[in-house]
């Protein structure tokens, strides 16, 4: 069973087609780099996969069932543009909150473990409002990975991160890859993405311009894909 099936998805904003007939499948354990220029439709597609937006036509299925199924939502981790944690709560309270919402058996233990893993254990009881930007970003990573999701949807995960947050994120992504989790990652950082990816999808003005395995040629020359399949 495919981890993700994107079945001829269209998305219109008014009359504007943000996605046009996108269709592909992602198998369990694959790491898909979702590439494309700004406004190509990467975020729209990721939001539909995460169940945050509805496709106008077509469907997205996760593990064989609708992406809005409660069971599926417990299996996905989403790291979007916002950090998605509450400023008024402490780091520990934030992680425990999401742990409880995801029905983890030991939310306090999971929170403690991820605070240590992201280097926030000393600041665990401080309010997020008092955190530096880098600390907030690491907490966002902990929040997205807290429930050990089988499928990770990462939207521009490296954008605007500081060095330490990049290191933390790279480590958890590598670990997820080793553990055969499925990752879909939209990004502009071609080199980093192509090094991690097993497959590549290039979206151009809402259409799927390329989908296939990542090749050595792409890693050696990240612009190759855009030259051959992207817009001139």
């Amino acid at each position: 069973m495919s981890a993700v099936t994107v079945d001829h998805v269209w998305k219109f904003y008014g009359d504007f087609p943000a996605l046009r007939d996108i269709a592909f499948q992602v198998e369990p354990g694959q790491v898909l780099a979702l590439l494309g220029r700004n406004g190509a439709g990467k975020t729209t597609l990721l939001r539909i996969m995460a169940g945050l937006s509805r496709a106008t036509r077509g469907k997205v299925r996760l593990f064989g069932s609708d992406c809005r199924d409660s069971a599926n939502r417990a299996r996905i981790g989403v790291l979007g543009h916002g950090i998605a944690v509450y400023d008024e709560l402490s780091a520990n309270e934030n992680l425990q909150l999401f742990g409880r919402l995801y029905g983890l058996p030991d939310p306090a233990g999971a929170a403690r473990q991820w605070l240590e893993r992201t280097g926030l254990d000393r600041a665990g009881e401080a309010r997020v409002r008092e955190f530096s930007r880098g600390m907030r970003q690491r907490l966002a990573v902990a929040r997205a990975f807290l429930h050990n999701p089988s499928l990770l949807l990462l939207d521009e995960p490296f954008t605007a991160l500081d060095d330490r947050a990049i290191a933390v994120l790279q480590e958890v992504i590598r670990r997820a890859k080793r553990e055969q989790r499925t990752l879909i990652m939209s990004t502009h950082q071609l080199r980093e993405a192509l090094e991690l990816a097993t497959h590549v999808a290039l979206i151009n003005r809402g259409r799927l311009a390329f989908y296939g395995e990542r090749t050595e040629e792409m890693v050696q020359d990240p612009a190759w894909l855009y030259r051959h399949y992207g817009e001139a």
Partner: protein, 226 residues
């Protein structure tokens, strides 16, 4: 069971966040007290007139003060894109809605019980004569306002003019809830018990609460996912 647990977690989170920031609470409380104070200075009603306007005055204050709390309910989730994280989580939209509605209900009810003694002092009214009946009316009326307000807070959360749109959309729908609440409160504050002739008003309040709670729980998932 899981639904109730998720509802409780959302409610607890909203109350904790509000009690720490006190953004909506302070604004709503200050607004209510100032309006009660200004009305008491603007008019100099006799005891009889006060009894006649008491229900209307109180519920107008509660409805406007409530808008300040209800506006923040979903807007609070926009900071840091928290709403996306909640919608992407396994929490059903109905549990998210119910948790928020209960938190708003508790906050608004607290404001109301702070306002009542202020009202009693400035208007020289003994509002405690039938406290049980008054509490019942406040609970039923406030739940009606809260359900409508929380639903429209979700509906308008992504609008630029949501602070304006929420009251414009909410108040006309709240009228069937506000009218019996005003009428019943006036009677009770005037010192009369809730007789059999008042049961129709109570039934109207209960019916309003049930219908709009069911509707909101059924529709909120559609409202939350664009």
């Amino acid at each position: 069971m899981r639904f109730l647990r998720q509802t409780f977690v959302i409610c607890q989170k909203d109350l904790r966040a509000e009690l720490r920031s006190k953004e909506a609470l302070n604004a709503s409380l200050a607004f209510s007290v100032v309006i009660l104070l200004l009305f008491s200075f603007a008019f100099d009603p006799t005891a009889e007139q006060t009894r006649e306007i008491s229900g209307g005055l109180l519920w107008l204050v509660f409805a406007f003060a409530g808008a300040l709390i209800l506006n923040r309910s979903f807007a609070r989730e926009l900071a840091n894109d928290c709403l996306d994280a909640l919608v992407a989580s396994p929490v059903p939209g109905s549990a998210l809605f119910l948790g928020k509605a209960i938190a708003n209900f508790v906050l608004l009810l607290a404001i109301e019980f702070i306002c009542l003694p202020v009202f009693g002092v400035f208007y020289n009214v003994r509002w405690t004569t039938h406290l049980g009946a008054l509490t019942l009316i406040l609970v039923l009326g406030t739940w009606g306002l809260t359900v409508i307000g929380t639903m429209f807070s979700a509906l308008t959360v992504n609008l630029r003019l949501r602070e304006l749109m929420l009251p414009v959309l909410c108040y006309p729908i709240m009228i069937p809830c506000l009218l019996p609440a005003i009428q019943l409160s006036t009677v009770v504050i005037a010192g009369q018990p809730l007789g059999p002739d008042m049961m129709e008003g109570l039934r109207l309040l209960v019916g309003f609460d049930v219908i709009f709670t069911v509707l909101a729980l059924a529709l909120v998932e559609t409202v939350l996912i664009g």
